[in-house]
Amino acid sequence: MRKRSPQPSRVGAEDTSATGVMDEESAETEHPRQSTGDLKAAQKSRLAGLDRETLVNIYHQMLLARRFEEKSAEAYSSGKIGGFCHLYIGQEAVAIGAISAIRKDDYVLTSYREHAHALAKGMSPESVMAELYGKATGCSKGKGGSMHMFDKELGFLGGHAIVGGQIPLATGVAFAAKYKGTDQVALCFFGEAAVNQGAFHESLNMAQLWKVPCIYICENNRYGMGTSLERAMSSHDISQKSCAYDIAAEFVDGMDVLAVREATMRAVERARKDSLPTLLEVRTYRFMGHSMSDPGNYRTRAEIERHQERDPLKLFSASLREEGVLSDEQFKELEAQVKDQVEKAVKFAEESPLPDPKELYTDVYATPLDAHRN
């Protein structure tokens, strides 16, 4: 078993509770993680510093993302959602923890596994579900689907489906914020497989060279589709790749929503105050297949179950319950509220009209080709 080397340019070094602790029981020698007990203890200490409203809101978002996607899977299986549908179940702590650490006017860009990020950025379950259904009322008018959600008003800038393609884009969004002299930041989410793309390396180089306020959040869920990290990456320590670009980095337990939030807050402060980028390696796990059509033959049931013991939603709800933030009754009320939200979203999507056939030819150009000579 390999021990982690010290973080090369680690920041927030005082916070060791979420980092670097190996799970001696794990067969995944290259994916160190805290034991459930350690995580819970760390989470509770973080929880103490936060007000009830924030905590409940974070839990609400996680629960909404989980139930929303469970419902999406049902709708996909019954043929109501087409194309690809990449579920985020198991990774909710990453998007929700990180997005809880930014302002409304900050930007988020992510990959095609994006429903939870869209919801966390404030997009309505109705507009996201309607997009999945390919309806005119969807956030992208039914032209983007599961992989291309956008909301300009809310600073949700997609939804990009070429692995790593969003990384240069987010770098440019952050570049523009600096150019215009705002103090906005950009969060850029991507999976660990995107780290092997040139786009990742080209972007991190430019980001540090030009000091842009972009926070690169690598959601390391161990698998690029069916290929494990160990089979795809010569050096498995993603946060260490920051050394090549002299960029601040941190690695975070992605099953602890509050650890993700705190690490993101440190990165956001660095971005806002000093216009500096950060690379966060957030270690997580997806409980479902790569997409709805993935039978998952590349990993064992036992491996999935081992990670499900550290289900971020269950761990957080246990912490909230044990610390008296939410009572059993209040949990039930929240569950009912979320169920209602998801049902309303489905009803809205079901009842919404399909895009007008005329929409096929709109939005291709801001100035349509035939308008130039008129």
């Binding site: 930007y107 860009l109 969807g138 956030c139 992208s140 008018k141 039914g142 032209k143 983007g144 291309h148 956008f150 909301d151 300009k152 800038l157 997609g158 939804g159 990009h160 070429i162 393609g165 990384i167 240069p168 884009l169 987010a170 770098t171 440019g172 969004v173 952050a174 570049f175 523009a176 914020a177 150019y179 215009k180 040139g198 786009a199 080209e202 972007s203 180089n205 430019m206 060279l209 030009w210 709109t362 939005d363 291709v364 150009y365 801001a366 100035t367 080709l369 035939d370 130039h372 000579r373």
Partner: protein, 327 residues
Amino acid sequence: MALVTMREALNQALREEMLRDDDVFLMGEEVAEYQGAYKVTKGLLEELGPKRVIDTPITELGFAGLGVGAAMVGLRPIVEFMTFNFSILATDQIINSAAKMLYMSGGQFKIPIVFRGPGGSAFQVSSQHSQALESWYAYFPGLKVVMPSTPADAKGLLKASIRDDDPVIFIEQERMYGIKGEVSDDPDFVIPLGVADIKREGTDATIIARSLMVPVALKAAEALEKQGVSCEVIDPRTIRPLDIDTIIQSVKKTNRVVIAEESHPFCGVAAEIGAEINERAFDYLDAPVKRVSGADVPMPYAKNLEDLAIPSVDQIVAAVREVAYLD
């Protein structure tokens, strides 16, 4: 009006548009301190400063994508490729991001960006540095493709491209930076995209040519005039949007068409224009549409072979004589 080179005309367009709008910035390899590999950006760093004129690392995919991201949130980037040969590395961001963003976001994110630089054949630099890529980019809905053939067109079209709200591929011919022409110094001298220019009027045959092939076609027309054949030379100037109406009007007048281009013939722009003519004006044709394209080979280095790979005046003359059934 002043007599300036294509290089100077492009420089004027960049300078004027950057002075006009603070959201316009320029980035690319060697554009700032080196003043441009082809000196198109000469003096801009000094006048506009390093915030607006930015030297990039050699990282085409990265800075093309960075430009698209900046355009998503309101900037108007001009991304220079040292040559369009290197844009091949950036095609994921040009095609998958820039061209499709407006559509797949349901109309929310326009991408006002110009990707510009030299393209087409260069002087004896062999296969990787000498090629015409316009048919690649023109293929994609969402992109506009512009190819000027005179200094005046270069200035007016580049200014229009920078002011346009869509991604524009602006291809400057690498061999043509030194050609001279009269250019307006009116800061609002803009040539709208999508409007072809009749470079020479004629009655017997239409030669459609773009970029480097325009001066070649004009020389061919001169030679043909002496042989008693009056040629009309049409420069579409923009490939997308294509001013097909002007082309069709000319075809209806002359009934004979030759399309000259530097690029390879297979799946090229001439093939597209020929198909459009067949669909819209078949009954007006007195002969099949004839293409004169670059050789269907990678560009060779040796001077004699390179000359054979690029359409010549003689080839265009012969093609016109062929469609006029003169030989």
